[in-house]
C-alpha cells in the first residue's frame, strides 16, 4: 500500500522554485491535492478482477502504480535490495470537458508516468536512487496489458516470454539504469497473485471511496544482473510486486504511513500498514494487514491498536528528516512477534519529494518458535519537504 503524493512529486520534478521555507511547501502540497479524486472513478466496492487486462493501466483512476521491490544476492553472498516503481497519474479526470477541436496530436495525453529506481548495496553500505518522468505518449512512457509493458524513458518492465501463469503477466523483465547503476532482472512466478482487503478492495479510512484496488505477487523468483560502477554482479533472489490504483483515497488529516512487506523464511508473506492521522491517536489510525500462507491461502486482518511499536529513530544526514528506524510488530491473533531492522540506515529517496523505502531484515517468533525473514518498509510523511499530500 503506497499511496504516494504523485502530484507533488510531479510538480517538484518539473522544477518549481526551491522552497524558501516550509510554509510554501505546505501550500504546494495543498494546491496539488488537485481534484482530491473528484471526477475520477473511485474504489467503492469490491470488483471482479480480470487478467491480464487489470495488469494494464486504469486511466479512469487518478493514481496507479507497478511497484517492484526485492532482495538479491550474488553467489558469493553480496546482498542488494532494489526498488523499481512506475507511477501513473491522470492529470485531469476522464469526465473533464472534451477539448475542442478534438485532439489530433500523438503527443496529446492525460497520463503522466514517473519512475523511481533505488539500489541498496547492503554490504557496501551505499544507496543509489534516481527518477524518470514522461508523458504517456509517443513512446516516452506507457503502460499496456497485452503483452504487458510499463515503461518510462529508458526504464521498463515487460512480459518477456510466453505466459507462465494464468494471469498472463509473468515472466517479467525489469530494466533500469541510471549512470553506472543498473539492473536487469527476470521475475518468475513463485507464489500466485493475492488480493488484499475485501476481495482486492483495500480500505484506507472510514469514508466512501476511501480505498484502493490492491493486489500483489508476494513472491517472485528473481534472477539477473546488477551493475554498480564498473562491477557487474550475477544475482538471484526474491521480489514482491504491488499493484494498486485509486482516486482520492486518503482523507485530508492522514499525514503519512508506515508500510511493510515481509517474506518469512517459512514461505509465508505478510503485508501490513498503518496510516497515521494528524492527531496521532490510535483510534484515528487505520491499520490493515494480509497474511499469505505457505499454500497461498490469504487471510486479511486488522492489527490491533498498539501492534506497531517504534523502537528507534534515524535522522537523515542528507535532509535532516527523522524517520522511525526499528520496529516491533505484535500480532497475537497470528501468533507472530516480529522485530524489523533496516539492513541499511540510509535508504532515503530524496527526489521530487522525500520518503524512506528500504530493505529490512525480520527476526522474531511464530507461536514461540524463532523465525526470520526479509522485507521492504516504506515511510512517508516524515520528509519535511513536500508532504506527500494524499
Amino acid at each position: 500500500m503506497r499511496i504516494l503524493g504523485l502530484a507533488t512529486l510531479l510538480a517538484l520534478t518539473l522544477g518549481c522554485r526551491p522552497p524558501a521555507s516550509e510554509a510554501p511547501v505546505e501550500r504546494v502540497a495543498e494546491a496539488l491535492r488537485g481534484s482530491g479524486g473528484a471526477g475520477f472513478a473511485r474504489a467503492i466496492a469490491p470488483r471482479e478482477f480480470t487478467f491480464p487486462a487489470d495488469h494494464g493501466p486504469h486511466e479512469d483512476f487518478e493514481v496507479e502504480w507497478w511497484y517492484f521491490t526485492g532482495h538479491l544476492a550474488t553467489a558469493e553472498g553480496e546482498r542488494f535490495g532494489y526498488q523499481l516503481t512506475f507511477f501513473r497519474r491522470a492529470l485531469v479526470p476522464p469526465d473533464a470537458p472534451p477539448e475542442t477541436p478534438a485532439r489530433s496530436s500523438a503527443w496529446a495525453t492525460r497520463q503522466v508516468y514517473l519512475g523511481h529506481f533505488a539500489l541498496a548495496d547492503i554490504d557496501g553500505g551505499r544507496f543509489y536512487f534516481s527518477e524518470r518522468l514522461g508523458r504517456g505518449a509517443v513512446g516516452l512512457a506507457e503502460a499496456r496489458a497485452e503483452p504487458f509493458r510499463v515503461a518510462v524513458a529508458e526504464w521498463s518492465a515487460e512480459t518477456s516470454g510466453p505466459a507462465a501463469e494464468p494471469t498472463g503477466l509473468l515472466p517479467l523483465r525489469l530494466q533500469a539504469k541510471d549512470g553506472d547503476v543498473a539492473l536487469d532482472l527476470t521475475l518468475a512466478l513463485d507464489k500466485p497473485l493475492v488480493l488484499h482487503g475485501d476481495r482486492g478492495l483495500s480500505r484506507k479510512g472510514g469514508g466512501t471511496g476511501a480505498a484502493s484496488y490492491y493486489y500483489s505477487f508476494p513472491r517472485l523468483t528473481t534472477t539477473g544482473e546488477v551493475s554498480r560502477g564498473a562491477s557487474r554482479f550475477g544475482v538471484t533472489g526474491q521480489s514482491w510486486l504491488d499493484r494498486e490504483w485509486s482516486s482520492g483515497s486518503l482523507a485530508a488529516d492522514q499525514v503519512g504511513w508506515d508500510w511493510f512487506s515481509i517474506q518469512l523464511d517459512d514461505r509465508r508473506e505478510l503485508m501490513l500498514f498503518e496510516l497515521r492521522s494528524r492527531d496521532g491517536r490510535p483510534e484515528t489510525t487505520t491499520r490493515a494487514g494480509t497474511l499469505v500462507a505457505a499454500d497461498g491461502s490469504v487471510r486479511a486482518f486488522e492489527p490491533p491498536a498498539g501492534a506497531l511499536e517504534v523502537l528507534d529513530h534515524w535522522t537523515s544526514p542528507r535532509t535532516g528528516a527523522r524517520y522511525p528506524a526499528r520496529w516491533s510488530w505484535r500480532l497475537p491473533e497470528l501468533g507472530l512477534d516480529l522485530e524489523v531492522v533496516p539492513l541499511l540506515a540510509e535508504q532515503e529517496l530524496d527526489l521530487g519529494f522525500r520518503y524512506w523505502e528500504g530493505a529490512v531484515a525480520v527476526a522474531g517468533t511464530s507461536h514461540g518458535a524463532p523465525i526470520r525473514g526479509r522485507g521492504y518498509v516504506e515511510l512517508t510523511g516524515y520528509g519535511g519537504k513536500a508532504h506527500p499530500g494524499r
Partner: protein, 845 residues
C-alpha cells in the same frame, strides 16, 4: 595650465560663441549618430541573444529538421539512447494577435514537453506563484487550446488567467485559454520571456497544423554519446547551440557593420568642424599666442591650451551627442529591428537599452576625433615664434605650400584606398578602411583642386564683375580657411551623394528584379509567419483553381535545409509556362533550365554563389530524406529577397526527396479578359471559409515589396540625413569663421568706398562660390563613394551585384545642399559685415 591662460581661453570662446557652438553641434551630431547606431545594434544583438537563450535554453546541441520536420517518435528513441535530461522536443512558430489598442503583435509560439524541460528551460515548467503551477500545467498538457504567457506580455495584451487569447496563424484564427502566467525576477529573464507564448507540444502541433512533426529537438550532450546522427533522419542535422547562434549572429553582422561604418562618417564630418573651429581659434589669436610666448609661456603650454580648448568642446559635444544619440536610438532600434526582421529572422526588441560600451565608444569617438582634428592647428599654434605675430600673408603663403603637401598626401591616401579596395578579398573591414582612406584622400585633395579650378576658370570670372573677381581671389588667398571649409563641405555632400546613389541603384535593381520575378497576375500566400512556415491549405488551393478566371497556377514552396554552406532556402517551384522564363539568370542557359530542373538540377541565387564560390557546373550537396545528394548547378539567378542562400529546385523533385507537400505561395495567371482586381476579391471570398489568405494583384505586391525595401533602407537614410546635417553645420561654421577672419580686409574694402550692400553681396557671392565648388567636387567623389559601396562593400556584405544608376534628384539635391547651405551661411556674416563701421572693423584684433 595657469589660471590666466585658462581665463584667456574661456574669454576667447565666449567672444566667439557661434564658432564654438557650431563645432559643438557638429561633434554632437556625429557622436549622436554613432551612439544611436551602436545602441540600436547592441539592443538588437542583446534581444537576439536573450531570445536565443530563452528558446535554446541550456541546450548544448540541437537537431534541426529537414522541411518535413522530425518524426514524433524520435525523442523517445533518443531518450532511450541518451538517458534522462538530455532531450527536449520543440515545435515553434510565429503567430500574431490583436492588441487592445488595435495594433497587432507578433508572438513566438513555443511548443514544449514540460516533462522534458526542467534541465533545459526550468522557467517554462514552473509557475509564477507556488501552488499555481500544477493547475496550469495540468490544463496546459491535457487541453489543446491552452497556453502560458509572460505576465508582462499578458498585461500588454490585456488577458488574464482563465481568459482567452485570439491568435492568428497562417490566416487561421485560434483561441487559446491562458492558464498561467510566467514571470522572472530579473530583467534579462523578463526580456527572454517577452512575447513568448508557451504551449504544450501537442497543443502547439495542433495550433500550427503540424501534427506528427517536430521542428527541432534540443539536446544536452557531454561528448560521451557517440554518434547520434545514426539515429536521425538523413535530412536532419545536429548542430552545437553555439554554432547555431553564431550562424544567426553572422547573418546580421555585415548589416550591423555597415550601419556602424556609415555612422562613423558623421563623426568624420564632425571632426572637420573641430579642425575648422580650432584653426580659426588659432589664426585669430596669432598675436596673443606670440605675446604669450614672449611672456615666457612654453610651447608645451600653448599646445595644451589649444588642445584643452578642443577637448572641452569635444567633451561637451560628445556629452550632448550621447544624450541625443540615446534619444535617437529609441527610434533607430525600431528601424534596425524591422530591417533584421525583413531580411533575416524575427526579432522582438522593446526600445534601446543603454549599455556602457556603446556610450564609452561614443565618448571615445567624439573626444578622439576632436583631439585628432585639433592637433594640427595646435601644433601650428605652439610653433608661433615668441613676440612675432605672423603676418597674415605669410600664413597664407605657408598654407598654399601646404596645399601641395596635402594634395600629395591625399593622392597617396587615395592610392592606398584604391589598393585596399582592389585587393581580391572578401574582408569587409578592409573594404571600409579603403573607403575611409579614399574619403580622407579626397578631402586632402580638395584645396589643391580648388586652386586649379579657379586658375582654369580665372579668365571667366571677370564676367562676374569686380565683386566676382574679388570673391574668387578671396577663396584662393585665404586658402588656409577656405581649404578646410571646402574639404569638409565636399566630403559631407559627397557622402550624401554616395549613400543616395547607392540606395537608388539598389532600388532600381530591386524594381527590375520584381518586374522579372512577378510575372503572374495574382499572388496568394498565407499571412505572417516566417517564410515557409505557413502553408496554403489544400481546400483553399482547390478553391483557387476552381475560379473560372484562373488560367494557370504556379506553386512555390519555401523549404529550409541546413547544408554545409549554412541554412539554405529551397525555392521549390512548380511554375506555369509563363513564369518559367522570368528567372533572370546571371549565368547559365535559360533554355534548358526548366527541363534541367525537372531532371534534378538546381539553380542558385547570385548572393549565395558569391558567398559559397559555387558556379555553374559545380554540384551542391544537400541533405535529403534519403541521405545527402549532389545536385548539379545549371544556373545562377538574381535574387534580392534575402542575402542568404536560395536554391531554385523543381517542386516535384523537392516533394520526392524531402516529403513535403506544402505550398507557401501561389502565382495565378488569368484568362485573357479577366480584371485582376475583381478576381482578387472573388478569390479572397472563395478561400475565406478555409483560410484568410493574402490575395494580392501583382501591382499591390510590387508596391508592398518596395515598401519593404524602403523600410530596409530607412536607417541608412537617417544616417545620410545626419551626415547632411553635419555638412550643413560645417558650412555655416566654416564660412562664418572665414567672414570673421576677413573682417579687417572687408573693413578696408568698406573704407575704400564699397557700400554695405556691395560688401554684403561680395560675402554672399563668395559663400555661394565656395558652395558651388564644393557641390561640383562632391558629385564625382560621391559617385566614386557610391561605386565603392555598391561594388565592393555591398558585394562583400551581402553578395548582391548592382548596376550603378545616376539619379538626377540625388545629384541635384547635392548641389542644392552645398550651394544653399553656403548661401545661407553667408547671410549672417554678410549682414554683420555690412553693418559694421569700417573703423571698428579695421580695429579688429
Amino acid at each position: 595650465m595657469s589660471p590666466t591662460l585658462r581665463r584667456a581661453s574661456w574669454r576667447f570662446l565666449l567672444r566667439h560663441p557661434t564658432q564654438s557652438l557650431l563645432a559643438l553641434v557638429g561633434i554632437a551630431l556625429g557622436v549622436a549618430g554613432a551612439v544611436a547606431i551602436a545602441l540600436a545594434n547592441g539592443s538588437a544583438t542583446r534581444a537576439f541573444a536573450a531570445t536565443t537563450d530563452a528558446v535554446a535554453g541550456r541546450a548544448t546541441h540541437q537537431i534541426t529538421a529537414g522541411p518535413a520536420g522530425l518524426p514524433d517518435e524520435l525523442p523517445a528513441r533518443l531518450v532511450r539512447q541518451l538517458g534522462p535530461g538530455r532531450v527536449a522536443p520543440i515545435v515553434e512558430g510565429r503567430v500574431t494577435t490583436r492588441l487592445p489598442t488595435g495594433g497587432r503583435r507578433a508572438l513566438q509560439l513555443l511548443g514544449i514537453d514540460p516533462f522534458s524541460e526542467a534541465p533545459f528551460r526550468p522557467q517554462f515548467s514552473s509557475g509564477g506563484d507556488e501552488g499555481s503551477a500544477l493547475p496550469g500545467l495540468n490544463r496546459l498538457v491535457t487541453a489543446g487550446d491552452t497556453a502560458v504567457l509572460a505576465a508582462a506580455t499578458a498585461a500588454e495584451l490585456g488577458v488574464g488567467v482563465g481568459e482567452r487569447l485570439e491568435i492568428e496563424f497562417a490566416g487561421r484564427t485560434r483561441s487559446l485559454e491562458i492558464v498561467a502566467l510566467l514571470d522572472s525576477p530579473d530583467p534579462g529573464g523578463r526580456q527572454a520571456l517577452a512575447d513568448l507564448l508557451v504551449l504544450d507540444l501537442a497543443g502547439a502541433q495542433e495550433t500550427l497544423d503540424r501534427v506528427g512533426r517536430l521542428d527541432r529537438i534540443d539536446l544536452r550532450l557531454d561528448g560521451s554519446e557517440g554518434d547520434i546522427a545514426a539515429l536521425l533522419p538523413p535530412d536532419a542535422r545536429v548542430e552545437s547551440a553555439a554554432a547555431r547562434s553564431r550562424t544567426l549572429d553572422e547573418m546580421t553582422r555585415a548589416f550591423r557593420f555597415n550601419l556602424t561604418a556609415l555612422s562613423y562618417l558623421a563623426v568624420f564630418c564632425g571632426a572637420f568642424l573641430i579642425y575648422n573651429a580650432t584653426t580659426f581659434a588659432v589664426v585669430q589669436r596669432r598675436r596673443l599666442l606670440g605675446m604669450l610666448r614672449a611672456l615666457g609661456v612654453t610651447r608645451r603650454e600653448i599646445l595644451a591650451l589649444v588642445l584643452g580648448e578642443a577637448a572641452v568642446l569635444g567633451l561637451v559635444g560628445s556629452a550632448l551627442g550621447l544624450a541625443l544619440g540615446t534619444w535617437l536610438a529609441q527610434g533607430l532600434v525600431v528601424l534596425v529591428t524591422r530591417t533584421i526582421n525583413d531580411l533575416y529572422f524575427n526579432l522582438t526588441v522593446r526600445g534601446a537599452g543603454l549599455d556602457a560600451p556603446s556610450l564609452a565608444l561614443g565618448l571615445a569617438l567624439g573626444l578622439g576625433a576632436t583631439l585628432l582634428a585639433a592637433l594640427p592647428p595646435a601644433l601650428e599654434a605652439s610653433a608661433v615664434a615668441p613676440g612675432v605675430a605672423l603676418a597674415r600673408s605669410s600664413l597664407e603663403t605657408k598654407a598654399r605650400r601646404g596645399v601641395t603637401r596635402a594634395a600629395g598626401l591625399g593622392a597617396l591616401l587615395g592610392a592606398v584606398g584604391a589598393v585596399l579596395l582592389l585587393l581580391p578579398s572578401r574582408n569587409l573591414p578592409l573594404a571600409f578602411a579603403g573607403f575611409f582612406a579614399t574619403v580622407l584622400g579626397a578631402a586632402l585633395l580638395v584645396p589643391g583642386a580648388t586652386v586649379l579650378l579657379l586658375r582654369w576658370f580665372g579668365p571667366v570670372l571677370p564676367l562676374l564683375g569686380t565683386r566676382g573677381r574679388l570673391a574668387a581671389r578671396g577663396v584662393v588667398t585665404s586658402l588656409s580657411r577656405t581649404g578646410v571649409a571646402l574639404a569638409a563641405l565636399t566630403v559631407a555632400v559627397a557622402v550624401t551623394v554616395g549613400v543616395g546613389v547607392m540606395i537608388a541603384s539598389f532600388r532600381q535593381a530591386v524594381v527590375h528584379w520584381l518586374e522579372g520575378a512577378l510575372v503572374a497576375e495574382i499572388y496568394v500566400s498565407p499571412p505572417g509567419g516566417r517564410p515557409g512556415e505557413a502553408t496554403v491549405v489544400p481546400a483553399a488551393l482547390t478553391a483557387l483553381a476552381a475560379d473560372p478566371a484562373v488560367a494557370e497556377v504556379s506553386l512555390l514552396r519555401h523549404g529550409f535545409v541546413t547544408s554545409e554552406h549554412g541554412p539554405l532556402r529551397l525555392l521549390a517551384s512548380d511554375l506555369a509556362a509563363s513564369s518559367r522564363d522570368s528567372w533572370r539568370l546571371v549565368a547559365g542557359d535559360r533554355e534548358p533550365l526548366w527541363s534541367a530542373l525537372e531532371a534534378g538540377a538546381v539553380a542558385i541565387a547570385a548572393p549565395f554563389a558569391y558567398r559559397s564560390g559555387l558556379g555553374v557546373g559545380d554540384v551542391l550537396r544537400l541533405p535529403t530524406r534519403t541521405g545527402p545528394r549532389d545536385f548539379p548547378i545549371v544556373g545562377i539567378f538574381e535574387d534580392y529577397s534575402a542575402d542568404r542562400g536560395a536554391v531554385l529546385i523543381s517542386r516535384e523533385v523537392y516533394r520526392r526527396l524531402w516529403g513535403d507537400d506544402g505550398v507557401s505561395a501561389v502565382g495565378i495567371d488569368l484568362v485573357a479578359d479577366a480584371d485582376a482586381e475583381v478576381v482578387v476579391g472573388r478569390l479572397r471570398a472563395a478561400t475565406a471559409p478555409f483560410q484568410a489568405l493574402d490575395v494580392r494583384s501583382t501591382g499591390t505586391l510590387k508596391r508592398g515589396s518596395l515598401q519593404v525595401f524602403d523600410r530596409t533602407f530607412a536607417v541608412t537614410a537617417v544616417l545620410r540625413a545626419i551626415a547632411g546635417l553635419v555638412a550643413f553645420v560645417g558650412v555655416v561654421s566654416a564660412l562664418g569663421a572665414l567672414a570673421l577672419d576677413r573682417a579687417r580686409e572687408l573693413g578696408v574694402l568698406r573704407a575704400l568706398g564699397l557700400t554695405p550692400g556691395e560688401l554684403g553681396g561680395l560675402v554672399t557671392v563668395q559663400s555661394g562660390l565656395l558652395g558651388l565648388i564644393a557641390g561640383l567636387f562632391s558629385l564625382p567623389l560621391g559617385m566614386l563613394l557610391a561605386a565603392i559601396m555598391v561594388h565592393v562593400i555591398n558585394r562583400r556584405s551581402f553578395g548582391w551585384s548592382l548596376e550603378l544608376v545616376l539619379p538626377f534628384e540625388v545629384l541635384a539635391q547635392a548641389l542644392l545642399l552645398a550651394f544653399g547651405a553656403a548661401l545661407l551661411a553667408g547671410l549672417q556674416p554678410a549682414w554683420k559685415m555690412a553693418h559694421t563701421s569700417p573703423a571698428l572693423a579695421l580695429r579688429e584684433e
